[in-house]
């Protein structure tokens, strides 16, 4: 452990959180092709504005460049990745071998999730795996690090992968009463940090966090509140009406609708909506900072990486801390 100066993984995200800074993570979506340049471009935009960036793993079950491949490119570009790993596409053998590879390529953060069901994606005919679930994946990645052993119990001889281990939780998923306990289970499984689903309903999230804090879970795991800028009123409506487990209050939809009203020029209209989306996001971040137990924000600007420098700047989150 000495090589990490007492840190579990030595990742920048771990250091920032351990030092007590309000952390910022962003998201980098890999392309639907094999172009390394896309990753480099996006990494260049995010670098310096986030402590680490999530690299999604076939998000919404659509084939994209692998999160580990893209993550390795991000490492080369000087942006710390949080490699996402879902339980949908691989069994425990593939997951562990991928984790060994990811670590060898310089990846230090892993986010464990179950993964969107394949019916949503571009290969609905696929067989899904779900050999283990996200809770068990957390345990497995922690085991590689702390027990120095594979999931089967066999010892890892030589270098073992030492990741900073993340999980996700949706405060708006049902049953609401169970969600704080489920977060507690993820902490018990050994998660070091948790990123939440996108939050637009702040009162409901506040209630969730009140219960989390009552259980003392925020002391066992760092909680990053999920926020994100809306691009259009249509996107807001879609999330409100179509995405299971999302809670977008009408008030937010109305604001997005009002933003473009009366503007004739299409470009200007779109720009006004985007500006409002950024404004809402900055306000959300300001509210998140006041909620007890929230250790940072995870800003999801999907296919809109350029928004991150603007949001972090306006929310007063810059410069990002440098922790030795």
């Amino acid at each position: 452990m000495s090589e990490n100066n007492g840190f579990k993984s030595g990742s920048n995200l771990e250091k920032v959180l351990r030092a007590g800074h309000f952390a910022v993570t962003a998201e980098l979506g890999p392309p639907k092709n094999a172009d390394a340049e896309t990753i480099r471009k996006k990494a260049a935009i995010l670098k310096g504005y986030a402590d680490a960036a999530n690299i999604t793993d076939n998000q919404t079950a659509i084939v994209r460049m692998s999160s580990i491949g893209a993550g390795a490119l991000a490492v080369q570009a000087g942006l710390e990745p949080v490699v996402q790993m879902t339980c949908r596409d691989r069994n425990r053998l593939a997951m562990q071998s991928d984790l060994l590879g990811a670590y060898a390529l310089g990846v230090r953060n892993v986010l464990c999730l179950s993964g969107d069901h394949q019916t949503f994606g571009n290969h609905p005919q696929a067989k899904n795996v779900h050999d283990i679930d996200s809770m068990q994946l957390v345990q497995m990645v922690v085991g590689l690090r702390d027990k120095n052993s594979f999931q089967c119990g066999e010892e890892i001889k030589g270098v073992n992968p030492r990741f900073f281990v993340g999980a996700v939780e949706n405060p708006f998923g049902d049953p609401f009463d169970f969600r704080p306990y489920r977060l507690g289970k993820k902490a018990k499984a050994g998660a070091d940090f948790v990123q939440t689903q996108l939050i637009y309903n702040v009162p409901r999230f506040r209630e969730f966090m009140r219960r989390v804090v009552d259980l003392g879970v925020h002391e066992q795991v760092k909680i990053l509140a999920g926020v994100g800028p809306l691009k259009t009123a249509g996107a807001a409506k879609y999330m409100r009406d179509q995405v299971a487990g999302m809670d977008v209050p009408d008030e937010v939809v109305n604001r997005m609708e009002a933003a473009g009203k009366g503007i004739e020029d299409k470009k200007e209209k779109a720009a006004a909506a985007r500006e409002e989306g950024i404004k809402v996001c900055v306000e959300l971040i300001e509210q998140m900072r006041e909620i007890p137990g929230v250790a940072g924000v995870h800003i999801m600007a999907i296919e809109w990486e350029e928004a991150i420098p603007i949001i972090t700047e306006r929310a007063g989150l810059l410069p990002r801390p440098v922790v030795a």
Binding site: D131, M135, Q136, N170, G173, P175, F178, Y181
Partner: protein
């Protein structure tokens, strides 16, 4: 029980091809109860095949017979002559029935008339639902009698996932979220503590993943001499 449904007629016709003498074999057990391959369905399908072949100007000789259970040798022996007489045997049993027929009569050409769909039950008239995936190591004792393997779209052992919304699964609004059901049941039973424990990874060796399964009960086996 095993739940199945009939294949589209065009597919069945392709499977039969230009065979002249067709024997439709119904089964009197599960597929009778789910109205897919019982005596009645065998009769209807038989007449349909007869009529359509007459209309095509290539009249087939189609006959029907229904056995009590297609998945047991002894019930198959009684149709020996009929099978021998047919060019094609169209089984309306589940996948097990089809294979039992094919195994019992190696020279016969046996084709399936049904798609075997799942192990489940009738929920309401006309609606069947899946209940068990035969994982080989039943965990219903931990989950309030609701199976997360067969009924959670992601087979989660520590659900519910973030997509659970208003009691429904993220895949569509018609599918109940198994973990919401489990939560409700355990809560009503005052056994929510069961959900606070982390279920460990499942040992899938007892499931299909361990290869084709077989049960040998030494206590029930006949001595070698008697078998012969």
């Amino acid at each position: 029980m095993i739940v199945a449904e009939q294949k589209p007629i065009a597919e069945i016709q392709t499977l039969i091809g230009d065979a002249k003498r067709v024997l439709v074999v119904g089964c009197g057990t599960c597929v009778t109860v789910c109205f897919a391959g019982g005596e009645k369905e065998a009769g209807i399908l038989g007449s349909l095949l007869r009529m359509s072949s007459q209309m095509d100007g290539n009249a087939k000789d189609v006959s029907e017979v229904t056995v009590q259970r297609q998945c047991e040798w002894e019930y198959l022996d009684v149709i020996k002559d009929k099978v021998a007489d047919a060019n094609v045997v169209l089984s309306l049993g589940c996948g097990i029935g089809v294979q039992a027929l094919a195994e019992r009569y190696p020279n016969a050409l046996v084709v399936p008339g049904l798609n075997t769909t799942f192990m489940g039950m009738l929920q309401e008239q006309g609606v069947w639902v899946e209940r068990c995936a035969a994982c080989g190591n039943c965990m219903l004792g931990l989950t309030g009698g609701i199976c997360p393997i067969a009924r959670c779209s992601k087979q989660l052992l520590n659900g519910p996932c973030g997509g659970s919304s208003k009691g429904k699964c993220e895949i569509n609004s018609e599918t109940d979220c198994a973990w919401q059901l489990i939560y409700d049941k355990l809560k009503a039973q005052n056994r929510l503590h069961l959900l606070m424990e982390i279920n460990p990874p499942k040992d899938w060796r007892t499931s299909r993943d361990g290869g084709p399964r077989k049960i040998v009960r030494e206590d029930l086996r006949l001595p070698a001499a008697e078998k012969a």
